[in-house]
């Protein structure tokens, strides 16, 4: 861990997280911890087949009161997550499968019981009659005519096709070097420590449906439940208690959540669904499965002139609400050019429906895939021109002198020095020393390789970007409400949801920066639609920029009101007041915030005539000066040892040089980045949800779906650059997703560097021993053939 940081408790300080005390003592409260009189549990009966027509769901008479099928949920509207990109095909995503089942694990019915075990017994007693249909399991094959159809009415399996062409013919024709590659990423499951869970009941006193749910977006869930259940939004309250990780899985409305809420309305008693690990693995949270054909056109030095790409995303059976099935591929097309300075681009993207669980935006959304594709391509170009990959990469990066920079897909890179992050990574990983070491055989016979991966991360992109996608959710001004308590403490209310990001601490640090109140006396309230301003929630690395900016602005407004009262109490002018250490200072003395608050709340006879009647509570909206986002970036560098006999890879060293603008709390940034990097290591080396030809998932436990563990995640050495964004309050950029984006590129480039002398190259991940050995065997066979000829 570094010691980078500023003294004090404000922006830049390495303040320990306020929320950790309860979590370290096991005193957090998650949906599964809630006890309530009369609480019952539900379990889902799920489809055993990937694709089938539903002939009958039979409920034995003794279970009539306890089992629920799609017929009973007829009043629940199916989810329709459309986007306005031309050509997007609409589809219904029902709470329970209707007419057909479209993936193995899709909910078909559910049962209620006093315990989960009894609910599962009851599910087993239902009879499901299905007529099997040919499954669609391969996205490339599903694009071809004659494929079975997931949604028959469409006539094909394409949710969305996009095409872009920017000066492609003109610039590609100038190329001296052409590099072609095919890349594949496996399907992944996000695997937060806490799976999904929800508890719902009807509150007669409040005349409200109350839903506790493990979500990143409580207000969106409220809107979604009201919309699909046909309720006024005022009659729905959503509470997100402690949430044990989300990573994007919990920013959507789940069909199970909808079914549960319907049941609470019907039964008027508390009911809960707790997703178990098997449900999570086989029926939810799918991500990452991209396929690329990439052709790069460069000059003889390796300077990229034009890029041609075809991107296919296997988005599964349904369009998730509200983010839709089109966002992943559209983002892939927009982000593939990465941090590079070139001007010719042609890209087609295909969002393909298959009989797999729906694709959900996972930490990094599209960028882990595009970063992998462009970073491997950059190394392939360097090989083709016979130069050091780090040098070729450096020459292609957007230089700091070009900032702000509009790239070939019109992304507006606001600030930063990408080359400096690469230079520092080259220095810290010791590239020259690795190159020297590679000249001698390793004593243990393994092969050493070094790889780099540089990315940009669009964070906190706003209104215009989302409006262009036209999905059901478009974020606008983010609001925060702050309130001075009668004893001089501060309550901060935000509609975003902290689910591991440490916002109870970082937002308090921003408030402290403005008002000087001790963070220990600042309470950040989030996760309850009844208590917080409406917000689209926490996703897209937006919360610290958006909610942080809103907290700053609302504290500034509150500060002015405090100063006006204090000026009256100190018999000076408002302009002479300064906020310091929880006190207001003027030329004739000082007064505590507690005294200011006491006067407002309890001694109003002492208030000035011109006091702001808004009092010591302010709600202010904020968005950055541009909607195009603040771009964070980083370079990851890895040194690996590859055992060419066993295909095993060990990460020997890992360096990150990151820049997320002004750091609010370096320790939190490092924690976020470590966690994301662990997930990226999973993408690179371990995680893979395999489906067989029948569309059956072949991993249903963590014994089969491998996540990196403590032994597989190396010590990560992290270094910070700090280039404030010119467009955001305090220059803050988002950082939540970045760690997960770069590891596959850095690690697989390092693997390829190690096996290059054997003539082998890997382009599919995860880089399992089997894939590596197959790549090596292909190389061996090629050489044998070459020798024979």
């Amino acid at each position: 861990m570094s010691d980078y940081g500023k003294p004090g408790s404000g922006i830049g300080a390495r303040l320990k997280r306020k929320e950790d005390a309860r979590h370290l003592m096991g005193r957090g409260s998650f949906v599964g911890d809630i006890a309530m009189p009369g609480l019952m549990e539900i379990a889902f009966r799920r489809s055993p087949l990937a694709h089938a027509r539903i002939k009958r769901v039979a409920v034995p008479p003794e279970l009539a009161e306890w089992a629920f099928t799609a017929a009973e949920l007829a009043g629940v509207k199916p989810m329709q997550a459309n986007n306005s990109i031309p050509g997007f095909k609409s589809s219904d995503f029902p709470a329970l499968a209707t007419g057909k089942v479209r993936f193995a694990g899709e909910p078909v019915a559910f049962c209620l019981g006093p315990t989960r075990a009894v609910a599962e017994d009851r599910c087993q007693a239902l009879t499901l009659e299905l007529e099997e249909l040919p499954p669609v399991t391969d996205a490339l094959a599903a694009r071809t005519a004659g494929s079975a159809l997931v949604h028959e009415a469409w006539g094909d399996n394409l949710f969305l096709t996009t095409a872009a062409d920017v000066r492609f013919e003109e610039l590609s024709s100038k190329a001296e070097v052409v590099v072609k590659r095919e890349y594949k990423l496996a399907r992944q499951c996000m695997s937060p420590m806490e799976g999904k869970g929800a508890l719902a009941y009807w509150d007669d006193r409040a005349d409200q449906l109350v839903v506790y749910t493990s979500t990143q977006v409580p207000h969106i869930i409220r809107t979604g439940l009201a919309l699909h259940l046909g309720l006024d939004q005022g009659r729905v309250r959503v509470i997100a208690p402690d949430v044990g990780g989300g990573f994007g899985y919990k920013c959507i409305l789940q069909p199970e959540e909808l079914a549960l809420a319907w049941l609470a309305l019907k039964r008027r008693r508390p009911v809960r669904w707790t997703e178990d690990r098997r449900e999570h693995l086989v029926a939810a949270a799918n991500a990452r499965e991209h396929h690329y054909f990439v052709t790069a056109y460069a000059d003889r030095r390796g300077r990229l002139l034009a890029l041609d790409a075809e991107v296919t995303v296997d988005v599964g059976a349904y369009s998730v609400w509200p983010f839709s099935a089109g966002l992943e591929a559209a983002q892939a097309g927009g982000n593939l050019p990465g941090p590079y300075d070139f001007f010719g681009y042609r890209c087609k993207t295909y969002s393909v429906a298959t009989n797999k669980p729906p694709f959900v935006p996972y930490r990094g959304v599209a960028r882990p895939g595009v970063c992998f594709a462009i970073e491997l391509t950059m190394d392939a170009i360097a090989r083709a021109v016979g130069r050091e990959p780090a040098e070729v990469r450096r020459e292609n990066l957007v230089p700091a002198s070009a900032m702000p920079y509009d790239n070939v897909t019109k992304k507006h890179y606001d600030s930063g020095d990408y080359q400096k992050s690469l230079d520092l990574a080259v220095d810290k990983i010791g590239l020259a020393a690795v190159r020297a070491r590679q000249k001698q055989p390793e004593p243990d016979g393994r092969r050493i390789g070094v790889g780099f991966s540089t990315y940009t991360e669009q964070t906190a992109h706003g209104t215009k970007v989302f409006a262009a996608w036209g999905i059901p959710l478009v974020p606008g001004y983010e609001q925060a409400a702050v309130r001075l308590t009668p004893d001089g403490g501060l309550e901060v209310r935000v509609g975003v949801q902290s689910h591991g990001q440490g916002m109870e601490t970082t937002l308090a640090q921003i408030a402290h920066e403005i008002l000087g109140i001790d963070p220990a006396a600042i309470k950040v309230v989030h996760g309850d639609t009844a208590l917080t301003p409406y917000s689209t929630g926490t996703y897209a690395s937006r919360s610290i920029v958006m909610a942080g900016g809103a907290v700053s602005r609302s504290c500034q407004t509150l500060g002015e009101r405090i100063k006006r009262i204090a000026a009256h109490l100190l018999q000076s002018s408002t302009q002479e007041m300064r906020l310091e250490r929880g006190e207001v200072h003027g030329p004739r003395g000082h007064v505590s915030l507690a005294e200011v608050a006491r006067v407002w709340y309890l001694r109003p006879e002492n208030l000035p005539d011109d006091v702001d009647p808004g009092g010591l509570e302010a709600t202010v909206g904020y968005k950055p000066k541009v909607d195009s986002g603040a771009f964070g970036y980083a370079t990851h560098a890895a040194v690996v040892a590859v055992d060419a006999e066993t295909g095993q890879v060990e990460i020997l060293d890992y360096v990150i040089v990151e820049d997320c603008g002004t750091l609010v709390n370096p320790m939190v940034v490092e924690g976020q980045t470590y966690g994301g990097t662990a997930q990226g290591i999973g993408t690179a080396l371990y995680e893979e949800m395999v489906y067989d030809g029948a569309g059956q998932p072949l991993a249903s436990t963590l014994a089969d779906y491998l996540l990196p563990g403590a032994a597989e995640v190396p010590r990560i050495r992290m270094f910070h650059l700090e280039t404030p964004s010119p467009y955001t309050e305090h220059g803050i950029k988002g950082v939540g997703e970045g760690g997960a984006i770069a590891p596959p590129g850095a690690i697989v480039n390092a693997i390829n560097d190690a096996i290059r002398p054997l003539g082998a190259e890997l382009c599919d991940i995860p880089a399992t021993p089997r894939r590596l050995i197959e790549a090596l065997m292909r190389a061996e066979a090629g050489q044998a053939k070459g020798a024979a000829e």
Partner: protein, 276 residues
Amino acid sequence: MKPAPFDYVAAASLEEAVTALAAAGGEARLIAGGQTLGPMLNMRLATPSRLVDISRIAGLRRIAESGTKLVIGSGVTRAMLEDRSDPSPAVRLMCHVASTIAYRAIRTRGTIGGSLAHADPAADWLTALVLLDAELTIFGPAGRRNLPMPDFVQGAFATALGPADVLEAIAFVKLSGAARWGYCRLARKVGEFPEALGAVLLDPARAESRIVVGALDGAPVLLPALAERVAREGRGAATRESVGAAVAAAVPGLDPVALRLHSVAVRRAIEQALGA
């Protein structure tokens, strides 16, 4: 992911356990540490009408010396084996194998007998005990009987245990002080089930040599000819080609990647035993 209903009997003795198993007419399962059966129950992959818990039978948790042999009760946990300080080569091998399985919390509960009775081909004990030429004692309705490892393991998840049998103990010779072993486990992660296992034992004083290839589709396989040549000729007998050919001949049908992994595991185990 909660078990289907079952009834539960805590047996105080082997006799009680056998009686309780027999009374359930083949529908009962034994449970000891529960590290495999627990998840199988939760996922309803196993739905026994009755669980017979043998974890309270003190006799099953003993490790005893009997002449040149070590006798390990089937209820001995991996952690108890891992923590054993006996310097004899066979016990060092058992310590080493125990330490590679899963992680400590699982080793604290999981028993050697439970692992053998489940007979997952990738389980380390199957390979290690074939290597040590262990003999198993089974207690059943007709009394005790002893079986050598190869007769006990009949295939993937298949053993010689009858529906009312209890695996009681595992016995093996402690080997001579000069015996050498090698054990190579290729797993994707620390503690995961291995994708390939190679195990080698060379005890010239007792004129014994064995090589086992494990983590296959079925029971572990002995490579006697290779073992004999390695014992006689040493390193020269363990070339990439000779080991590959021996594994390919003994385990037909391996795909090229699996053949490579298993051959490497065997060769590295040989190198370890020879003190590379």
